[in-house]
């Protein structure tokens, strides 16, 4: 993984550059399954069922995407690549849309008012993005810079990584709470919180050493591979940041306890036995084929600009998400 030595693009600029493509991928991921579901209508399904089924498939299995993209899975850090970032962002967008669609379905089932529900969710989603962006830029960034500048804090028992972890926890919990209570998906809140932490960590450098030395340290904290070729003298400690603090405390419990439990809970949520009746099986197969086509269409967006392999990968990953959603 190469990093440009001198200037670093801010993570916000990076996000802006992938946003159009990610939006296209996300929309295809939502609309194609729903649209294709309606093909089933002549086969005897009520349109509302097609809509519900299509939207449930479009709903993201963020956990799948992230686990597949995780460095431990693939061996290098896919998240650093543009493709990985697109897939990730599209997955989160799909999740918000799925959240809205779930509300739509409940409204069509007879409760609430469609306009207000959708309006509120969209408004809260966009609002949280804007408000938190501003808070990060104008409140958190100076505060974090002040903390980082005082290296002495790292030596105190209550300072250092524990303090940074608490900041991580506060940001995370706060934005998730705001999203959940405000009316949008808490997963979106986690996404925004992570984005703001990434911004803070990349924009605020510890004062020791030159910028060049900091970057290989960041590379060490991000990827699981050894430090990139660079001029870091072994005597220097890796830069402590919000991210390294989080990694050192949370990544193992996450990987070995919380995530296995998460996937296990998905496992027993599958209505397993009814799946094995013949009628359900052939319908399931037909549906899976349709949804695969829909998801692969997402790959078409990428095909024009990159190689066919990338397109297939993207489409295939979206299919994987959809299959989990099917379950």
């Amino acid at each position: 993984m190469k990093l440009t030595a001198g200037g670093m693009q801010s993570s916000i600029a990076h996000l802006a550059s992938i946003l159009p493509l990610a939006t296209a991928v996300a929309l295809t991921g939502i609309l194609a399954p729903i649209g294709l579901s309606f093909i089933l209508v002549p086969m005897g399904f009520a349109p509302i069922h097609s809509f519900a089924a299509g939207s449930s498939l479009a709903s993201t299995s963020l956990g799948t995407v992230l686990t597949v993209l995780h460095p431990a899975t693939v061996g290098f850090d896919l998240r650093q690549t543009r493709l990985g970032a697109i897939l990730f962002t599209a997955a989160v967008m799909d999740d918000v849309v799925a959240f809205i669609l779930a509300k739509v379905i409940s409204v069509l089932g007879g409760e609430g008012n469609l306009g207000t529900e959708i309006g509120r969710t969209l408004g809260v989603t966009i609002g949280i993005g804007i408000v938190w962006g501003l808070v990060t830029r104008f409140l958190l960034r100076p505060a974090y810079a002040a903390i980082v500048a005082r290296r002495a804090w790292e030596q105190t028992p209550w300072g250092g990584e524990g303090l940074l972890l608490m900041l991580n926890a506060l940001v995370f919990t706060g934005v998730v709470a705001a999203s959940g209570y405000g009316g949008t998906s808490p997963l979106y809140g986690a996404y925004v919180a992570g984005l703001s932490v990434a911004y803070l960590s990349s924009e605020v450098q510890p004062p020791t050493g030159s910028a060049e030395m900091e970057m290989p340290d960041m590379a060490m904290s991000c990827s699981s591979s050894p430090a990139s070729p660079g001029s870091v003298t072994p005597a220097l400690e890796p830069a402590t940041s919000l991210i390294t603090a989080f990694d050192s405390y949370a990544s193992k419990p996450l990987a070995y306890l919380l995530l296995p439990i998460f996937f296990g809970s998905i496992g027993y949520s599958i209505p397993f036995v009814p799946l094995f009746r013949g009628r359900v099986i052939w319908r399931g197969i037909v549906y899976a084929v349709l949804m695969t086509i829909g998801k692969l269409m997402c790959g078409a967006w990428v095909a024009r600009r990159k190689s066919w392999r990338a397109a297939l990968f993207l489409g295939g990953a979206m299919v994987a998400r959809g299959e989990i959603g099917l379950l």
Binding site: M1, T67, G194, S202, P260
Partner: protein, 90 residues
């Protein structure tokens, strides 16, 4: 007044089931990861086997708890994913 929660140790079989569940989740995850590169499928499979649909070894209260814990894990995963590596690399 005060509501109380009487602390009762789980039975030996419950404890063993829980230990087995937690360890096998990880073991199956590793195994399936090496085999087909998608370890999470192994963990889903363990959930299927242990849970209500098949063996039914997990009490319903546990299954609810695991769903809640798992959801927190998902949130943290998203947070980590976004924060850890958002470094442009073109």
């Amino acid at each position: 007044m005060w509501s109380s929660f009487a602390y009762h140790e789980p039975s030996t079989s419950s404890t063993l089931i829980l230990i087995a569940f937690l360890y096998l989740l990880n073991l199956a995850g590793w195994f399936v990861q090496v085999a087909i590169g998608a370890g999470l499928l192994g963990q889903i499979l363990i959930g299927v086997i242990f849970g209500t649909p098949l063996a039914g070894w997990l009490p319903h209260a546990w299954e609810e708890s695991f769903v809640a814990l798992g959801y927190v894990g998902l949130l943290v995963l998203v947070y980590e994913g976004m924060s850890a590596c958002h470094r442009p690399n073109e």
